[in-house]
């Protein structure tokens, strides 16, 4: 028997032995579940975006009636005065600590997420800082833990010349 025939026969036997092997049924069940979740998400996506746009519009309405203070970044808290010890320990006149300037928290923003599928051409707009629940972040596809969904987060809403909320980005502060 030639070497090629021998290899072909050996491989044929292996193929025959494996012919009936299939993925376990659990794989199909899991995939069907994933398919259902994906389909549900696809159906909900336009509704979620519409809800988000409506929520942003309502927030903007109130934001205009009661304008938010411009600076919403956490204000650095001044330290309470340090009690001077009665013991005769010489205190340096000016320590480096006393001179250290407190750093302002750094603002970190996400990209802008569009709120309108089709929008008129952008000419001019206004960026408004608002507070929204963290669940809004999930609506644009950002990950949020379940227990944090109700937490307030800062967001910048871009309002176009026609008064429509066009896009949103989220803001956090890093020390």
């Amino acid at each position: 028997m030639q070497s090629e025939d021998f290899v072909a026969a050996a491989l044929r036997k292996l193929a025959e032995q494996d012919a009936g092997r299939q993925a376990p049924e659990a794989v199909e069940a899991s995939l069907v579940q994933a398919f259902g979740r994906r389909r549900a998400r696809k159906k909900l996506a336009p509704i979620a975006l519409a809800t988000l746009a409506a929520a942003a519009a309502i927030t903007l309405f109130f934001a205009r009636i009661q304008p938010q203070p411009k600076q919403i970044a956490p204000v650095p808290v001044t330290q309470p005065p340090v009690a001077v010890a009665a013991a005769p320990v010489p205190i340096p006149k000016a320590t480096p600590k006393a001179r250290r300037v407190k750093r302002q928290p750094r603002e970190v923003v996400t990209q802008f997420f569009p709120l309108l599928d089709v929008a008129p051409p952008f000419e001019r707009g206004e960026l408004l800082r608002v507070t929204v629940p963290a669940s809004t972040m999930r609506k644009v596809g950002l990950p949020v833990r379940e227990e944090r969904l109700a937490d307030p987060v800062y967001a910048d809403v871009l309002v176009g010349q026609e008064g429509l909320a066009r896009a949103i980005r989220f803001v956090s502060y890093e020390q």
Binding site: M1, Q2, S3, E4, F6, V7, A8, A9, A10, L11, K13, L14, A15, Q17, D18, R21, Q22, A23, P24, V27, E28, S30, L31, V32, A34, F35, G36, R38, R39, K42
Partner: protein, 190 residues
């Protein structure tokens, strides 16, 4: 009329669960066996099958009918998943023993020894570029064109790799039965 794979994929991507299930049932066996024969591990084959079909759901719109069949598209996904999992150190070229006698009566010997598993180990010990063409063309009965599409290489490359892979396999299998030795250098992947 039986729907084609491409039609089923299109329907599945537009939300038809029945079409997805039909496509899965039609193609899962091939994907599972491909992963099994490439890795030697049923657990990895199971994971790869699941991930390959999930990837098909997520990226199925990238499928281009002019570039190959849905089956070869799926094999291509499965191949990438398999290669990602394998320890590349296990892919080193192996020593090939050319000192054995000819292959006369070797098949009978193989049958007698019930050494199909040794054939599997010999396939597993091939470097991946040769292993994947052997698995696709010889074990999965894919055409050269399908294999070329799955492996994203020209048909001529598939042919030459197949020839070389079979030669290497012949030498390894000679080693299996030569002087009653078993395969010494086949990396078992679990």
């Amino acid at each position: 009329m039986i729907a084609t794979d491409a039609a089923l994929l299109e329907q599945a991507l537009s939300g038809a669960e029945d079409a997805f299930t039909a496509l899965y049932r039609r193609r899962q066996g091939g994907v599972y066996r491909f992963a099994l024969q490439m890795t030697g591990s049923a657990a990895v084959a199971e994971d790869v099958t699941q991930e390959a079909f999930l990837a098909l759901l997520l990226h199925g719109t990238r499928y281009d009918e002019t570039r190959g069949t849905v089956a070869s598209f799926l094999y291509g996904i499965a191949r990438n998943l398999v290669l990602r999992r394998l320890d590349r150190r296990a892919w080193a070229e192996l020593e090939i023993d050319d000192e054995c006698a000819g292959p006369e009566d070797l098949l009978e010997d193989l049958t007698r020894r019930e050494s199909i598993e040794q054939v599997r180990q010999a396939v597993l010990s091939l470097p991946p570029v040769f292993r994947e063409v052997i698995v696709l063309c010889d074990l999965q009965d894919s055409s050269y064109e399908e294999a070329a599409s799955a492996l994203d290489c020209p048909v001529g490359t598939v042919r030459s790799r197949l020839n070389r892979g079979r030669s290497m396999l012949a030498r390894k299998l000679r080693g299996v039965v030569c002087a009653g030795r078993s395969i010494e250098c086949s990396p078992k992947i679990s």
